[in-house]
């Protein structure tokens, strides 16, 4: 079994980077930095380490560092909430399908297959369009952009997590200790909660972590198409906003891109570490 050969330091680095991002997302406002969206026009596109702006500013003078800090709240907020919500609903449906089998299983699997046959990006675009124009009941106020993204991404992720939860649960429902549990006289619900869910959870947590990375990237993609959050409000939209500045002020685009890459790398690393520990445990059975 391929032991996870990356040394422990990889794990420490990724966890510490990720906790820095979480810290910024939560306590960002209290840091002594200029507001991310007040535009200091007279020194726009300042170089890095210039006065007052450690990481410089982009073309409309908004400070990049505080932009990153505020961006972490948006990017992480959107991804964690959407994938989290999808994890709860998706794993419930998936495990239910795997354990009940029969009619429920075929309905849910069909439901998952139908949703998954439309590419993720395309499905999200359609959902965003539905939720973002003047809200459904005709009232004029438009739903906030972040909420629209969260709802759309949750709906997109439910079938992804659902199908994986079903697959993982299926691999466990066949195991003998489930038969043993039934022979002891446990009700189906108890068997599900006591035996299936705890064993499926590690795989879902790993998917959850990988999913967050995916959403952070996807959010950037939407910003480029013009469907993302308000320009500069998240890492992705910072990158999109400054993507034209590569020749004049490359750092305005490269810094957010690096932050995204580092965060996604640490998330993927942690996700893979969880998965390898599952395989490790499973290979002994």
């Amino acid at each position: 079994m391929h032991r996870n050969s990356r040394p422990k330091i990889g794990l420490i680095l990724s966890l510490s980077w990720f906790s820095v991002c979480i810290f910024c997302a939560i306590f960002g406002d209290f840091l002594p930095l200029p507001k991310w969206d007040d535009y200091d026009y007279d020194n726009s596109a300042a170089r890095m380490f210039s006065k007052g702006h450690i990481l410089g500013t982009d073309y409309d003078g908004s400070d990049i560092l505080s932009g990153l800090i505020h961006g972490s709240r948006t990017s992480l907020g959107i991804s964690i909430l959407s994938v989290g919500a999808a994890l709860i609903v998706g794993s419930f449906l998936g495990i239910l399908a795997a354990y009940r089998r029969g009619f429920i299983d075929s309905i849910l699997s069909m439901f998952f297959n139908v949703f998954l046959s439309v590419p993720t990006i395309v499905l999200t675009l359609v959902l965003v369009a539905i939720f973002s124009s003047p809200s459904l009941d005709g009232s004029s106020t438009e739903l906030p952009r972040e909420l629209v993204l969260i709802i759309s991404l949750t709906i997109v992720f439910i079938p992804i997590i659902g199908r994986l939860a079903r697959g993982t649960a299926l691999s466990w429902t066949g195991r003998e200790f489930v038969l043993v549990a039934e022979s002891i006289g446990m009700r189906r619900r108890e068997v599900l909660i006591r035996h299936i869910v705890p064993n499926v959870m590690p795989a879902l947590i790993s998917l959850f972590v990988l999913g967050i990375g995916f959403v952070i990237i996807a959010e950037g993609g939407f910003a480029i198409i013009g469907v993302g959050t308000q320009p500069g409000a998240s890492w992705g939209s910072m990158l999109a906003k400054n993507r034209g500045e590569l020749t004049l002020a490359p750092h305005t685009a490269l810094i957010p891109a690096t932050v995204i890459a580092l965060t996604v790398a640490s998330l993927n690393y942690y996700g893979e570490y969880l998965r390898s520990r599952i395989d490790d445990r499973e290979s002994r059975i």
């Binding site: 195991r175 003998e176 200790f177 038969l179 043993v180 549990a181 039934e182 022979s183 002891i184 006289g185 446990m186 009700r187 108890e190 006591r194 035996h195 705890p198 064993n199 445990r281 499973e282 002994r284 059975i285």
Partner: protein
């Protein structure tokens, strides 16, 4: 093969477990049904060990799960201490469960990897809410000690840290938690090393005597079965071909049992090695031969064997055989 013969069954009212004409059907890949257990009857007296012996594919494990009602049986009756459990509703069947418990061949897979040993052994007690926390704690320690495991060392470690033999002991402790009347052992020692096998067999024997259990012992190893059972039932392709006692097992009446006995390699060079009596392998249970299912491989086959299915009948005290030309 047995057909409807039930001559070997004893007085119904005394039997702890009585199985009559049990049939279990499986669906194959192509959707057609076949009978893994094709009408089997046997019984177990209180404190008696009945062994089911047969090669792979003869339906012995399916029979065990059928008796435990862990899979839906097509037809036939299973009566546990006077109560018929086939056809019971989900809740009624659940109520009966504590009286019969089971241990499996793959002992490691029959323990939940994320639970600790004491959680595993305690679970049956928790499910049925028996005893206070303190009583349960003592019960667990007593059970683990009775299978030669030290509760303090083993108690809160995960089951994945133990060997096959140790996991089997944990399964036994768990199975005895509800003090069942019947313990079904599905090839409990087949995948263990010889020295560990002996330890587990002795523990099972000890537990049987201490708790007054009846045992249904499933195995493919005739030598193991002779040492632990009071009555041996030999199965071939979903049916019973012979019922005999351990003493009689060296002088069987059915040709298949004889082939089984002769095929077992003897760890004693002085005994002249027998060449294989049987050739080929059992036909697929999907297309069983007509009449006696063993006829296609039997040296003593005659025309009647193909037409008429032999019934189980007594050929000597306690020995029943389903064969038109038994070895007498």
């Amino acid at each position: 093969m047995t057909g409807l013969g039930k001559e070997h069954l004893r007085q119904a009212s005394d039997a702890l477990l009585r199985v009559e004409d049990l049939v279990v059907e499986y669906k194959t890949g192509r959707g057609d049904m076949f009978q893994a257990v094709a009408g089997v009857s046997f019984d177990i007296m209180p404190n008696e060990t009945v062994a089911i012996v047969g090669e792979s594919g003869c339906g012995k494990s399916t029979l065990a799960k059928g008796v435990m009602q862990l899979l839906t049986t097509k037809s036939g009756k299973v009566v546990l201490s006077g109560v018929e459990i086939t056809g019971l509703g989900k809740e009624e069947l659940r109520q009966v469960r504590p009286n019969m418990q089971m241990i499996f061949q793959d002992s490691i897979a029959s323990l939940d990897p994320h639970m600790t040993v004491s959680q595993i052994v305690e679970q049956p007690l928790k499910v049925w809410g028996r005893g206070t926390d303190q009583e349960r704690k003592e019960k667990i320690e007593d059970l683990l000690k009775s299978v030669n495991l030290d509760p303090d060392v083993v108690g809160n470690r995960k089951s994945t840290e133990f060997s096959g033999g140790q996991c089997q002991r944990i399964s036994i402790a768990r199975a005895l938690a509800l003090e069942p009347k019947l313990l079904v052992c599905d090839e409990p020692v087949s995948s263990l090393d010889v020295s560990i096998q002996a330890q587990i067999l002795n523990i099972i024997r000890e537990m049987k005597n201490r708790y007054g259990l009846s045992l249904l012992f499933i195995s493919h190893d005739l030598a193991v079965v002779r040492r632990i059972s009071d009555r041996i039932v030999v199965m071939y392709l979903g049916k019973i071909c012979e019922v005999l006692t351990p003493d009689q097992s060296l002088s069987p009446a059915h040709h298949y049992t004889q082939a089984l006995v002769l095929a077992v390699p003897m760890p004693d060079p002085t005994i002249r090695r027998q060449r294989a009596v049987l050739d080929g392998e059992p036909p697929s249970p999907m297309y069983p031969p007509t009449g006696c299912r063993f006829r296609t491989r039997c040296a003593a086959m005659t025309t009647i064997c193909a037409e008429q299915e032999p019934q189980l009948r007594e050929v000597s005290p306690g020995q029943f055989v389903a064969c038109h030309h038994p070895i007498v």
